[in-house]
Amino acid sequence: MAPKQANRKAITLKGSTALVTEFFKYAVNTILFNREVYPSDDFQMVKKYGQTVLVTQDLALENYLEKILQQVHKWILTGSVTQLVLAILAKDTRTTLERWVFDIKLVEPSPDAKEGPGKAEAEIQSEIRAILKQITSMVTFLPVMQEDKVFNILAYTSESADVPAGEWVDTDPLAIEASKSQQVKMRSFSTDIHRIEAMVAYRYEE
C-alpha cells in the first residue's frame, strides 16, 4: 500500500508543479498586459482555462519568462521556493509601484485522511480562472501608472535551494515603504500538493 501511495504522490507532485508553473505563466502575462508594462500590441488572445487569456507574442519576452519559469518549476518541484513576486517598477526612478505576491505553500496531507480521488482538475481550473479574472478586474481600482514601467520577478527561496550560479542572484526585495503601500489579498487556489495565495501591494500616496 505504502509504495503505491508514494507513487501516486510523486506523479501528483509533478503534475501539480506543472499546473502551478503554468498558472504563473498566465498570471504574469495577464498582469503584464493589464498593467500595461508592455504595449497591448504585443499580446495575443489564447484560449486557456476555458477563457481567453492574453499572452505575449514578443519572442524575447517569451524566452525570458520561459527561462524563469523553468527554474521556478525546478524549485517548486523540490519545494524550495516559498514566494514569487512580480514587482512593477518605474523605469526611470526604479521605485516599486506594485508587487504581485504569490505565496506557494505546501499542503500538508493530513496523515489519517484517505483523500480518495483528490481535487478535480476542473475545480482547480475554475479557481485559477477566478484569480486571473480577479487580476483583470484589479485594474479598476489600482492607481494608474503614467510612467514607463519595467517588471522584475523575484523568487523567495530557502537557503538550501539549488541556485544556478550566475543566473539567479540575491537581490533587494523591492519592497514598497509600509507607509505608502496598500495591500489587497486576492483569491487563492490549491492543488492536492500546493496552495497558491495571491496578494497585491501597490504604492498609494495621497
Partner: protein, 573 residues
Amino acid sequence: MRDACVTICDRRVMRDRRGRGNDATTCLFKLFCLRTSMSTQKTPKTPSRRRVRSEAKTPLTPSLLSAFNTVSIDSPIKRATSTSIPLSDAFQRQASGGVIRKGGVESRLDVVTLDYVPPPKSTEVKRSRSTPVINLSDRDRFITSRDHTHELPGTLDQMANPPSGSPTHTARLAAAAGVPLNRRILGYHLPPPMASSDTTLALQREFARPLYANRPGTVATSTGATTNKTRKIATQPERVLDAPGMVDDFYLNLLSWSSLNCVAVALESSTYIWKADTGAVMQMGEAPAGTYVSSVNFSNDGAFLGIGLGTGDVELWDVERGVKLRTMAGHQAQIAVLSWWQHLLSSGCGDGSVWHHDVRVPRHKVMELLGHNGEVCGLEWRKDGELIASGGNDNVVNIWDGRVGDAPIAGDAVPTGNAKWTKRNHTAAVKALAWSPWQPNLLASGGGTNDATINVWNSTTGARLHSQTTPSQITSLHFAPHKKEILSTHGYPTNAVMVWSYPSMEKVAEIRDAHDSRVLFSSVSPAGDMVVTGAGDESLKFWKIWDLPTAEKKSKISGRGEGTTKSGVLSIR
C-alpha cells in the same frame, strides 16, 4: 565637532536656567521643540541677519562671553537677571539661531564653534567658579543622548543602512520586514527585455480614436450603411474592379461612364476603357512620357474621349478604334477637368481659366472664360448647352453663358465670356457640380473639406434654393436621372456615398465606408440605375443605387430626350 557644538548650546541653556529658575524648564522644552521643528524645516538665513542677531541680541553668560572675544559694555548677567521675559524671547532666538542643522554650512553655531577654540580645561574652571548646582556633565550627556535618539529615527539613510551589522539588529530588522533569515530573495540576472513594438503605438491609437469616435452621424450598424425606411439600397457593391495606380488626388477627374456603356478610367499615365456590356478592357494609350492623365471625359454620344494631361494638353481619342485623333495644346497647367457639349470640349485648367475647344476646327480654342483665381476642378455643361458651371479651388462657383460667339476676332485673340452668376458661398474648393436632368435651372454644388455643404442654385434667378451640410468633403454630385434625388460622394472621414431626396434634402440612404479611402470620382450609368465610384484605395466599385423606371415612366422620360440614346450622335469631321 558637531557634538561639541551641541554641548555648548546646552551648557548655555543650563546656565540661563540656573539664573532664571522655574522659567528655564519651559524654555528648555521650547528649545527642543524648536530644534525638532528646525531640523525638519530648514529656513535659510542670510548672513547679514545672522550677524546682527549674534552681535546685538544674544545674551551671553560670562563664561561664554570670555570665550567669545567680543566686547560688550553691559554686564550680561545683569541683563539676564533684570529682564526675564525678553530674555526668554532672546533665548528662543538664540536657540533657533544656534540649532544644529545637518549640513547647514551657514549654521550660526558653526560660527560659535569656530570662535570657541579654548581648551576644555578653561571651561571647567569657569564652570567651577560659578555655583555648580546641577551636575552639568550628566545633564549634558543626558540631553545629547536624548538628542541623538530623537534624531536617529528621523534619518532614513541611517535606518536603511544600519551602521553596525549587529546580528540581533539584523534579526529584528528581518523580523520587522517579514523576511525570514534563512531565506534568500533571488532575482533573475538579466533584466526583462524591452518592448519590441513601439510603445507609443497604443498612445497614437488613443489619440486617433476621437477622430473616429466623433464621426458625425455615426451609425451603429455593422455595415455602416443606413437606409431610409421607405428606400432600401444595396450596401454592397455589385462589382468591384481593380484600379492599380489610380491617383489619389481630389482635384482630378479620372472616371467617366459613356452613353455607350463604357467606363473610362485613368491610371497614372494610361487610360483604360472597360466595356460594361462585355467586361472587356482596352487600353486607350499612354500619356506622353513625363506626364500623367489628369482628367477624362466622354463626349455626349460616347464615341470620343477627351483626355486632359498634366502638361496642359488636351487629347481627343476615338473610343471605337482606340486611336488618338488630335492633341489640343495651349494650356500651361494641368487640366483637372473636362466637360463636353456636342462639339465643344471645355477644359478647366490649373491656372484658373476655362477654355472651350471646338474639336472640329484647327484653331480649337474658341472661347476663354476667366473667372477663377484658383485651379478649376469642377466643370459641367448643362444638357442643353445653354449654361456651363465651373467650380474652383478659390471656393467660387461660376455659371457662364454657354453660347460661343461666331464672329471671328482678328489675330490669336478669342472672345472671353463673363460669368452670369458668381457664387462665393462655399468655403472650400468646389469640385462637385451637377445639373438637374429634370429641372433645367437647378445646379447643385458641393464644397471640399472645410465646407462640406451641398448648395442647390437656381441658375435663372441666381438664388440659393437649398443648403445641406454633410459629414465630410464632397467629391462629386449627381442628380438621379429618374428620381428626385441627389447622390453625393464623400471623402475622409466617412468615405461615404449618400443619397438625398430633393427638394426636402433629407438623407435617403448612406453607404458609409464605401471605399477604404476617400471616394474621389463617380459617374452615373447611362441607364441611370448604377453609379461607379473610384477612390484612393485603387478600386472601382459599382453600386446599384436606383431602380430603373417602369415601362410607362420610361417612355415619358425618354420623351424628354435622355442622353442614353444615340440620337444625338454628332459627326466631328
